[in-house]
Symmetry: C2
Subunit: 159 residues, 2 copies
DNA sequence: CTTGACCTTCCCATCGTTGGAAGCCCCATC
DNA sequence: GATGGGGCTTCCAACGATGGGAAGGTCAAG
């Protein structure tokens, strides 16, 4: 089994298999006389294990631990569960972070006209200028400064 | 205002300010005769804008567009809203992805004993070996192969 | 023997941010 | 005037995981 066969059998690209080997996630594959990597069904099983774990978002580092537990007949399921628990905590934290971003933006977008007028609560928020209520039209909210009507590419000082 | 002052005033690190300048997100700062970067209150406002946008998860690329809209008095709020909408869609996709990982893992963890025994539905799932019901103890589920009782660092073939 | 598919290694890019090293500048203190 | 310390400069590298590509060797079928 060459690396391409192993890639097809496992769903892990040949490039990634080499990378996993280079960082020590999977053992060094055997080699033919001419230097081609050789894989067995066991190797493919490990690659599938890694792929599935990656698809659940586990980091390479944690997968390394999970794989060694998988291969260790004397493991305790508590150890496995602990690793998974850590990962779930990371996922929950990330989800909460993204959701708070999403909620903040959703609220801003809800109040944005989204028409041809320039005033926009989203820009207000980003600029840190609390939106005034009751006004309308030009001068509704603070600009970056009184003279800056140019895109950021513009250099205020010579090149 | 030196870069350190601008960093303190904006909450963006000096390193990051230089990076933002190098990629063209912010204009090139003015320089003193000796080469020190010089910042104005306007620059700090832009840095704060960038920082707030980053905290909402906007990519640098989108912030570039948002900043140019911010500086453009003739913008339409629809354009701003469209950029924000794209970002929200990205956030939603990412949240959905993470949540599906989290849910899958939560289910596996719910059925994992988490005790001293080696059998564990999490490893079953990762290994792609459907867990048998009704068995117990050794031989409960498939190992990577019949002989692999070694951690992945072990090389099956000589170095 | 030629062709084409495959393999090898090596380098580069992503994305945003941080870290460090080597060297210059500015200000205060002795 | 010398010295010290902190700030500034540029350049280079790293993170995590993956993809892309170049340059060259190998294998099997025609």
């Amino acid at each position: 089994m060459n690396i391409g066969d192993a890639a097809r059998a496992s769903g892990v690209s040949a490039k990634l298999i080499r990378y996993y080997e280079s960082i020590g996630l999977i053992p060094e594959a055997g080699r033919t006389a001419s230097g081609y990597r050789v894989y067995t069904a066991t190797d493919v099983n490990l690659l599938r294990f890694v792929k599935r774990a990656r698809s659940l978002g586990f980091s390479i580092e944690r997968i390394q631990v999970l794989a060694s537990l998988w291969l260790d007949r004397d493991r305790s399921s508590a150890e496995v569960k602990r690793i998974a628990q850590e990962h779930v905590a990371d996922l929950d934290a990330k989800i909460a972070e993204l959701r708070s971003m999403r909620d903040a933006l959703g609220e801003l977008m809800r109040t944005c006209h989204g028409d041809g007028r320039p005033d926009c609560p989203i820009l207000h928020d980003l600029a840190g200028t609390p939106q005034k209520l009751g006004g309308d039209g030009a001068g509704w909210y603070a600009e970056p400064d009184a003279t800056a009507a140019h895109p950021p590419e513009h250099r205020r000082h010579g090149p």
